[in-house]
Amino acid sequence: MANTAEQETQATLDESATPILELADATIKFGGLTAVDSVSFTLNKGDLFGLIGPNGAGKTTVFNIITGVYKPTSGDILFNGRNIAGLKPEKVAQLGICRTFQNIRLFGSLSVLENVVVGGFLRKKTGLFSALALLPPAVNETTELRKKAMDLLEVMDLADVAQSRAADLPYGKQRRLEIARAMATGPDLILLDEPAAGMNPQEKEALATTVRRIRDDFDKTVLLIEHDMRFVMNLCERIVVLDHGVEISAGTPDIVRNDPKVIEAYLGEESE
């Protein structure tokens, strides 16, 4: 039910849009199981893009092949025009894609601040020797990185717990810290794997605001996986729906919401 105004904005977006990430027939098989089957979609710079689907649809696997955890069996993944399929995770991160994890993976016994500094560390300039000899360049860089990390924590509203152990944080703050850590790597594209999982409505509201700020104020492109339909429909401008590794629908929230295939996929899941 897209009205003309929406179609217009869509058209203008498309005109000025430069693709940042393109999946072209990305496929991955584990033994006999095809976890992701010829999935293709394109993210443009500045998109707020949602990836949804029932449990076991292959959403996290798509993240894993984008970020290099798995190598796709076939198909291309173009990031800023460069094929990154099969690169190592650290290489992908250095190129400018960073992610969070569905099952939070923080550096538990490090402090909140240190977690974020690890994220920023990949833009380091000084060498290891400088650090081992405690030379001024490494010391100054450390101060710089800590300052930048602190600024990020302010933005993410975590500054008051900067010195706490990451593992001691409450769940919602841990999720926010994961996003802060990913942001610290200075990515162009940030992948959020179920960022709202386990949050209460207020926390979700705050998270949605934060994600919009990441896109608007920090000029990042965001791709997120989420289970909460309302959250995704309100937040994302475009959505791809996966079921059993296959792309079943794509488009604006309105298109997706009313797509019979999507309804069937979700209802089918519920009736099981």
């Binding site: 996290t60 894993n64 994890f101």
Partner: protein, 396 residues
């Protein structure tokens, strides 16, 4: 005989095919002991994910238990003429060894490992190393070790002394009759010489080497020697001491019992459940503490059986430190087969025993202890889950 001793790189290499079958049998026999110890490692690791470093020391204590039983029945090192042992004695030694090991294992688990169960794995491992050192050095205070005692061979009943001999390839009958003839000739030459010596009152070494009778004796003896060597090289035979055959049978019996226990009893099912997922098992109403205790009891009892048989039939000299190396090798065997996997431990034990004897056979006896680790490293690099295990991929 294949002679490859031409290049420097292969110096020391001697591959004699006629001794290979014997070495393979020896490998299986020692491998059976490794397998028995490895079972204890693999079961404990399966349930607790703990390398029970003290397992080798439990093995050592089992051997001493068997030794003390044999002392109790009078089979001390300085016992003079004493009647051979009985089957009952062997059974008592085996049982005492198994029971004392089971008690020691359960005690160690209760006092040292149970309190560490929720701690980091490295802390638990350090505790295990501590227990191992404590038993070794504590044992040094109480256990006889100088000179290293070994169980008297007189404990064996009369019907399992001696050995089974198998001729795989019989020597040429022609050679054998030649040898018999040569032996007769040698005896004749020898007695002729003796007769001459007694007649003349001379002593043998006073004679010239060229003296015809003396030369004849040496010639005939030389003939016997070369024929014996030829027979040796052309025939292939395997000798298995009867006691070791009994040992092998017992090992197979114990393994079968274990298999039945693990696969077909409630306790076994609980053990498998706990080793699959310890926490879920406890949520499903399995008394995991009981399972762990039983695992230690069974594993240690198997080590005790291995220790008794190792000390009795292979007659290893005992010291408080002698359990360490077999312990480490058995652990390697368990990893080799896929740790946590019971058939894997058995396979690993046999592979380890065979590999060791093959290295000795090839003339590199001094690297016997290193080969275990070389195999281990190669296996882990190319098949990290072990031969029969499967490596788990971490889910992201």
């Amino acid at each position: 005989m294949i002679d490859l001793v031409t290049s420097g790189a292969l110096a020391g290499l001697s591959l004699d095919p006629s001794t290979l079958p014997q070495q393979l049998v020896n490998g299986l026999l020692i491998g059976a002991i490794y397998a028995l110890i490895a079972l204890g490692y693999t079961m404990v690791y399966g349930v607790l994910r703990l390398i029970n470093f003290a397992h080798g020391e439990v093995f050592m204590l089992g051997a001493y238990a068997a030794l003390f039983v044999s002392y109790g029945f009078g089979y001390t090192a300085d016992a003079g003429d004493i009647a051979g042992g009985t089957w009952t004695l062997l059974a008592i030694m085996l049982l005492v060894s198994m029971i004392s090991c089971a008690i020691v294992g359960a005690v160690i688990e209760f006092f040292a490992y149970r309190p560490m169960r929720n701690q980091t794995r490295i802390a638990a491992l350090i505790t295990a190393i501590g227990v191992s050192l404590l038993i070794q050095y504590g044992g040094q205070l109480f256990l006889p070790a100088q000179p290293p005692p070994s169980i008297s061979e007189k404990v064996l009943p009369a019907d399992i002394r001696g050995s089974y001999d198998f001729n795989l390839i019989s020597p040429d009958p022609q050679l054998e009759s030649d040898l018999a003839a040569a032996k007769t000739a040698a005896d004749a030459a020898d007695s002729e010489l003796e007769k001459m010596l007694t007649d003349t009152g001379q002593r043998e070494f006073d004679l010239e080497p060229e003296h015809p009778l003396r030369a004849a004796k040496f010639e005939t003896i030389g003939e016997v020697r070369s024929l014996s060597a030829e027979i040796e090289n052309s025939s292939v035979s395997v000798t298995v001491p009867r006691g070791q055959a009994v040992m092998f049978g017992t090992v197979v019996l114990l393994m079968t019992l274990l298999w039945w226990l693990v696969m077909h009893t409630r306790t076994g099912r609980a053990m498998r459940a706990a080793s699959h997922d310890f926490d879920s098992a406890s949520l499903m109403g399995i008394n995991v503490n009981r399972v762990v205790t039983i695992t230690f009891i069974i594993g240690s009892a198997l080590a005790g059986a291995g220790a008794m048989m190792n000390a009795t039939f292979l007659r290893t000299p005992l010291t408080p430190f002698f359990g360490f190396m077999p312990g480490v090798k058995a652990f390697v065997a368990a990893v080799l087969g896929g740790i946590g996997n019971i058939p894997g431990a058995v396979l690993g034990g046999f592979v380890m025993g065979l590999a060791e004897t093959l290295v000795v056979w090839a003339g590199y006896g001094q690297y016997k202890d290193a080969v275990a680790f070389v195999i281990l490293i190669v296996i882990l690099l190319f098949r990290p889950g072990g031969l029969l295990g499967s490596s788990k991929v971490e889910k992201v």
